[in-house]
Symmetry: C2
């Protein structure tokens, strides 16, 4: 059995896990990112974390074939360089080289949305050749696999495609990005506004988060229904855009909002169907991700293992 | 030297050409499509056209390795079936099988936007690994190549991605598709409206078409400037969306409107730059297509030749 370490570097936490070639996680642990520190200090912490979890997993470090790391931003998987690390604040840092220097393990890096879809591709519940992933969290992330291959793009920034020209201002500088309408942040902001407008709404009973908005929606709360209906309508535009552009057989939806389950997926499917019914699109499915929070970590591990064999974006 | 016949099936005309493996067109001819006829009558005409142009090219029909045909709509290149042929009105017609039956030549089919970018990839002026093509004609077509491979989608309907939710109604049933703002048809419709509003405009001096709108724009006509500025702004949203999603190194713009040259490309580049300047996108270029009207025909021929070798979506 081959073992790889997957490292998921987020803005707040860094998670690392020992992953078998079958996708089983033998041990997992996390540390705070504290990305305001020097880059080499973060890398040093990651190297130590890798040693610790290998011990926890009961595996000898010599048995670890490789390290795969994923992170937000534009990541050049060929050179190992994080060109632009978004909220990590990294610019042109060679993560692969630095982790190799510290651990002597061949290290491979890729964008977190790409890692998540690669994890689903290798170890998830659904078998597919072509799929797109949209993650609905603080922002909206993306990943694309076509004909068994990861998109060669440094990142698939599906959240920063404009669905409403001259719409809401986005952090990226554009106006009307999918992210400004379909992120968890956007949902919560809309709900807060609606709560002010409708003071009898159930939305005001608790702190407003994605979960509470969908709870109120399921209870038939008028204000929550307005918010969720509009949210789903915009999300459906984003999903339909991907279907028209690339015609994947599967669109996976992940991130916090996807935990709403049927309350999200049933109306979303209807909304998407109404947008594509005019044409004979190939069959497609819209499903929640199946690996939860570990998709990126597992995908990064699989990416490292597959590239180790000398094949890039391996099938 | 190997020879292939490329057949470009359009709503109005069918063009066929004998193409060498180097991309040279030895002979070319066209016939009216008259797609309202029975499917087998159209196919029979195409088979006869193939024989005639082979003779014109001074090539023996036995020297023709294969036939490659492209057409609008959703085309399953694996089965040879045109699932939905848009303005051809075809539904589930096996073009590959029928042309093989009539000519005894192995026949391969693909969507016209995909054929056009494949032609540019194999025989065009620019060398690239990843690119997207947008054609600005009656509608807006698309094609995507990533890492040297054609998108496996039956079609890349970039024209039917929504850039303005709840915007102008599109023939496809959606509202706010790129096509409703960035096609030649959209440009001409805007110019006609502007001409009514500004009766002193140069736009009224001749019949309004893409060429006359850009001619007036170059002359500094106020109404034409308003029309073209808005047109370019929307087109730039579409181009930027592709850059964020797939980060191709090259975006090719084809179709009638692309003939406007610098008057289109200079402001378009500026508009796209202003939309992507907030992030450190990889370098990209925006260029006019280089094979003109023959890109599809040449691409279909190359696609047939490359698949003949047993490799699909060959590099």
């Amino acid at each position: 059995m081959k073992y790889v370490i997957g490292v998921d570097i987020g803005g707040t936490f860094i998670k690392a896990g020992v992953v078998s070639e079958k996708g089983d996680i033998l041990a997992i642990s996390q540390i705070p990112t504290k990305s305001e520190r020097e880059f080499c200090d973060v890398m040093s912490d990651i190297a130590n974390l890798c040693l610790r979890i290998t011990e926890s997993a009961g595996v000898n470090f010599s048995e670890i074939c490789a390290i795969g790391a994923d992170m937000p931003g534009f990541v050049n998987s060929e050179s190992g360089v994080v060109v632009s690390g978004c909220n990590l604040g990294w610019k042109k840092q060679n993560v692969a080289e630095e982790l190799f220097r510290l651990t002597k393990k061949p290290t491979y890096v890729l964008n977190d949305g790409k890692a998540a879809i690669y994890g689903e591709y290798k170890f998830g519940k659904y078998k597919f050749r072509s799929a797109a992933l949209i993650t609905l969290g603080t922002g909206v992330g993306g990943g694309i696999i076509q004909d068994g291959k990861l998109s060669p793009a440094m990142s698939n920034e599906l959240g920063h495609t404009v669905i409403k020209a001259n719409g809401k201002k986005c952090n990226c500088g554009r106006k009307g990005c999918l992210e400004t309408y379909a992120s968890a942040t956007a949902l919560i902001n809309s709900a807060k506004k609606a709560a002010k407008r409708y003071p009898n709404s159930e939305l005001l009973k608790s702190d407003i988060d994605g979960k509470s908005v969908f709870a109120a929606y399921k209870n038939g709360d008028f204000a929550a229904k307005k918010v969720v209906d509009a949210y789903i309508e915009y999300l459906a535009e984003g999903v339909a855009n991907i279907l028209f552009s690339l015609m994947p057989e599967l669109v996976l939806i992940g991130g916090g909002v996807s935990l709403a389950g049927d309350a999200l997926f049933e109306p979303l499917k209807k909304a998407v169907d109404s947008k594509v019914c005019g044409v004979a699109l190939p069959e497609f499915e819209i499903k929640p991700t199946t690996l939860g929070n570990h998709a990126g970590l597992c995908g990064a591990a699989a990416f490292a293992l597959d590239n180790l064999g000398g094949v890039q974006n391996n099938e």
